[in-house]
Amino acid sequence: MDPQAQGPRAIDIYVDILLLVLLVAAALVVVTLRNLLAAALVLGIYSLIMAALWVVLDAVDVAFTEAAVGAGVTTVFMLLAIAATGRHEKIAHRRPWLPILASLAVGGLMIFGTLDLPAFGDPQAPAQQHVAPHYLEQGEAETGVPNIVTAVLASYRGFDTLGEVTVIFTAGIGVLLMLGVASRRRRAGESDDDDTGDRS
């Protein structure tokens, strides 16, 4: 990353294409594997490739999150759930032609939609013209934080992030209510007389 290298860099494009090919390959492997345990592990690899791709696309904060969440915690959650539900897909995909046709149709429409999008990396694209220049030019002066992603996350879009944290909190409580102590007791048919107010 030397400061002179500000022009278009071909190596970025090559790495980008290589990672995209790897991503699609990993995705195909995940879908075709009947062994769910293996599929979950390949999904972890998929996330790691995705994290590398985020670095190439300059999204270092996102790469950090993807590496910690996608390749770490998600895989563990998946493995735990598979351990509880069985590790093999019992039934083969029946009549696969209808789903393939449906996804091809949706994909074709989406590719038709991308034809109007500005080219990759275009600095004149509308997405680059709205609020982003203000964040990049004024962000450090207004918040005292050089990492603009943190500044936007916590300050300019603070209300949004409060909502996200609430969603995460709610999801945690939901999991606890569905599979927590109270529901396990009910399944075992025990009375919860040793504990008050713990019913779901």
Binding site: G144, N147, V149, T150, G158, F169, G172, R184
Partner: protein
């Protein structure tokens, strides 16, 4: 997995640096990549590793689910509390500039506090989900 000596020793060596790294990511999020979301997940990953190697009872002893629920609530409330505090300071909800006489300084302080709120909420929720799924039989 309690009988694997190598795994036990290596995880004992790894877990303290993971937790420390989570705190670094939390506090360094203003200047480099990082912040509350990443820090919370990394901290939880340390506890998840502990649980995978030493059993969920060990995690339960360190972080009982009831305590984790309280911590998760505190994280969200800390975030919302900063919003209320800036209202008391004379600004709008979550307008951190009102927290201090100097708007830039107030913004920086507000960002640090809400990132801590995000971090502990995310860490607590991830650990809750892990212990609930891992203890399911």
């Amino acid at each position: 997995m309690t009988e694997h000596l190598v795994l036990r020793v290596i995880s004992k060596l790894l877990i303290p640096p993971i937790l420390l790294f989570a705190l670094y990511v939390q506090m360094h999020g203003d200047y480099g990549p990082g912040g509350g979301f990443q820090a919370g997940v990394i901290f939880a990953a340390g506890l998840v590793l502990y649980g995978l190697v030493f059993g969920t009872a060990a995690v339960r002893a360190v972080a009982p689910p009831r305590l984790l629920v309280v911590i998760a609530c505190l994280g969200v409330l800390l975030y919302a509390g900063v919003g209320v505090a800036s209202m008391i300071g004379g600004g709008a909800f979550l307008e951190y500039g009102a927290l201090s006489a100097d708007a830039t300084h107030g913004n920086h302080v507000g960002i640090i506090i809400i990132e801590i709120g995000v971090g502990i909420a995310v860490a607590a929720v991830m650990t809750i989900i892990f212990s609930v799924l891992a203890e399911w039989r």
